[in-house]
C-alpha cells in the first residue's frame, strides 16, 4: 500500500460539495478511480473540479471546506 496526494492546480477556495445542499463528492474511506471529482476550487467566480489523478481510497482531507488554497497545495490523501 502506498499513498498519493491530490494537489490543487489553481488558487482559490476549496469546497467538498457541488452545492451547499448537496452531499460531498467523496468522504473519508470512499474509493475513487482516476478522473473522479473529489472537490471544487472556486476562483475568478468560476468553479474548477478537482479530479483524482490516481485511483485509491480517500484516507484524509488535508484542507477544510471553504479553506483558501494555493497552487500545488495538498488537498486529499489517497491510499493506493
Amino acid at each position: 500500500m502506498g499513498s498519493h496526494t491530490i494537489t490543487s492546480r489553481t488558487p482559490g477556495v476549496f469546497y467538498h460539495r457541488p452545492s451547499p445542499d448537496a452531499d460531498p463528492y467523496v468522504t473519508e474511506g470512499a474509493s475513487v478511480s482516476e478522473g473522479d471529482t473529489v472537490g471544487l476550487v472556486e476562483v475568478m467566480k468560476t468553479f474548477h473540479e478537482v479530479k483524482a489523478d490516481a485511483a485509491g481510497t480517500v484516507s484524509k482531507f488535508l484542507v477544510e471546506n471553504e479553506d483558501e488554497v494555493t497552487i500545488g497545495q495538498d488537498l486529499v490523501e489517497l491510499e493506493t
Binding site: 488558487p11 482559490g12 472556486e42 476562483v43 475568478m44 468560476t46 483558501e68 494555493t70
Partner: protein, 323 residues
C-alpha cells in the same frame, strides 16, 4: 493554418492591445492585462505590434497547431511543452504541423501569453480582436476558448523566426509581494489621513475575486471622513456623485476590500476613487494570483510619468534588440 483547442485551461481568451477610443460610451478597452508580456511575445515571433495572441490564467491550454509555425510563451513562469519536450519561455520556438503545446503547474506569476507568427485571426470588432466576455463581443465568438474550437492563424507575419530570445535580465520576476505604483486621487480626500496611510502601508492579499474585470483585496479596514453626503451620492460614506473610473482605479466599497478595476471593468460609477495604479504596473498586477500580496506605492504625477517612460523605454529597447 489553424490552432485546435484540445483543452482550454481555466479561461483562455484572444487579446490584443485593446479596443481603444470607446471608453466615453461605456466600452472598457479589454486587451492583454500584462501588456509587456503580450508585446514581447509578438516581437519574438516577428509579428507587427498589435497582432492578437492568447492570454491564459493559472492553467495553460493544450493547443494543436495544424501548420508549421513559430510561437513564443511569455508572461507567467510556467513549464511549457511541445510534444512533451519542455521549451524555453521568452524565446521563439518552431513548431511543426501536428505539434501540441501543453503546460505544467504554474511556478510564478498568473498569466501565460502565447504568441503565434501571423497572430490569431479573428474578426475585428470596433477595431480590436480582444475578447470582452462580459457582453460576449470580440475574440473568438465573444467568449473564452472551449475544447474543439479552431482558431485561424493570420498570414501577415513580418519576420517569423525561431531562436529569438529575451535577455534574462529583461525577464520580469514574480515576487510573492508585488509592488505597484499608485497615483493618489481623485477622491483620496474622502479617507481619513490615518486610513490613507494604512492603505499604502498594508500588504494587501489578493482574494479569489481577481479576474480581468478587477482584483479585490483584503487586509485592512479604511475609514472615511464623516460628512453630509452631497446631492446625487448614495448614503454609503464610500459613495460620491457618479464619475468616470480610470482603468486601474481603486475603490473601497464599505471601507473594506479595495478593488482595482482592470481592462474589462465598468467605466464609471459612484464609489470614491482613492487612486489609480500606473498603467504599466497593471502588468505586475496581472501576474499576481489569489493569495499573493500587493503593496501600493504612492507616486505623484511626475513620478507616475517617469515609471511609464522607463517601462515603455525598456519595451522599445527589447523590441529593437529582437528585430
Amino acid at each position: 493554418m489553424s490552432i485546435r483547442v484540445q483543452d482550454p485551461g481555466l479561461e483562455t481568451t484572444v487579446q490584443d492591445t485593446g479596443r481603444l477610443g470607446y471608453y466615453s460610451i461605456g466600452f472598457p478597452p479589454s486587451g492583454a492585462l500584462d501588456s509587456f508580456a503580450y508585446h514581447v511575445g509578438n516581437a519574438l515571433v516577428g509579428n507587427e505590434p498589435g497582432a492578437a495572441g492568447l492570454e491564459a490564467v493559472y492553467l495553460g491550454p493544450t493547443l494543436e497547431f495544424t501548420v508549421d509555425t513559430v510561437i513564443a510563451v511569455t508572461g507567467a513562469d510556467i513549464p511549457a511543452f511541445v510534444d512533451g519536450q519542455e521549451i524555453p519561455l521568452w524565446e521563439s520556438v518552431a513548431v511543426s504541423a501536428g505539434s501540441v503545446l501543453s503546460f505544467g503547474q504554474l511556478r510564478g506569476g498568473a498569466r501565460p501569453y502565447i504568441a503565434v507568427a501571423g497572430g490569431v485571426d479573428v474578426p475585428l470588432y470596433y477595431g480590436s480582436r480582444s475578447t470582452y466576455t462580459l457582453v460576449g463581443i470580440g475574440g473568438f465568438e465573444g467568449r473564452a476558448l472551449r475544447a474543439g474550437d479552431e482558431l485561424a492563424i493570420g498570414s501577415d507575419a513580418r519576420d517569423p523566426r525561431a531562436g529569438r530570445r529575451v535577455d534574462a535580465s529583461d525577464v520580469p520576476v514574480h515576487p510573492s509581494t508585488a509592488e505597484v505604483h499608485l497615483l493618489v486621487g481623485l477622491h483620496s480626500y474622502r479617507l481619513t489621513e490615518d486610513s490613507l496611510a494604512r492603505f499604502t502601508d498594508t500588504e494587501w492579499k489578493v482574494t479569489p475575486d481577481a479576474n480581468r474585470v478587477g482584483y479585490r483585496f483584503r487586509g485592512a479596514e479604511l475609514e472615511f471622513v464623516p460628512r453630509e453626503q452631497p446631492f446625487g451620492a448614495g448614503s454609503d460614506p464610500a459613495n460620491v456623485t457618479d464619475c468616470g473610473y480610470p482603468v486601474g482605479s481603486v475603490q473601497v466599497p464599505g471601507g473594506v476590500e479595495p478593488i482595482v478595476l482592470l481592462q474589462d471593468a465598468v467605466t464609471g460609477g459612484g464609489y470614491a476613487t482613492l487612486g489609480t495604479v500606473v498603467s504599466v504596473d497593471r502588468d505586475r498586477l496581472a501576474q499576481t494570483k489569489t493569495g499573493d500580496r500587493t503593496r501600493f506605492v504612492p507616486v505623484d504625477l511626475d513620478g507616475a510619468l517617469e515609471v511609464r517612460k522607463d517601462r515603455l523605454g525598456a519595451l522599445d529597447r527589447i523590441r529593437s534588440a529582437l528585430a
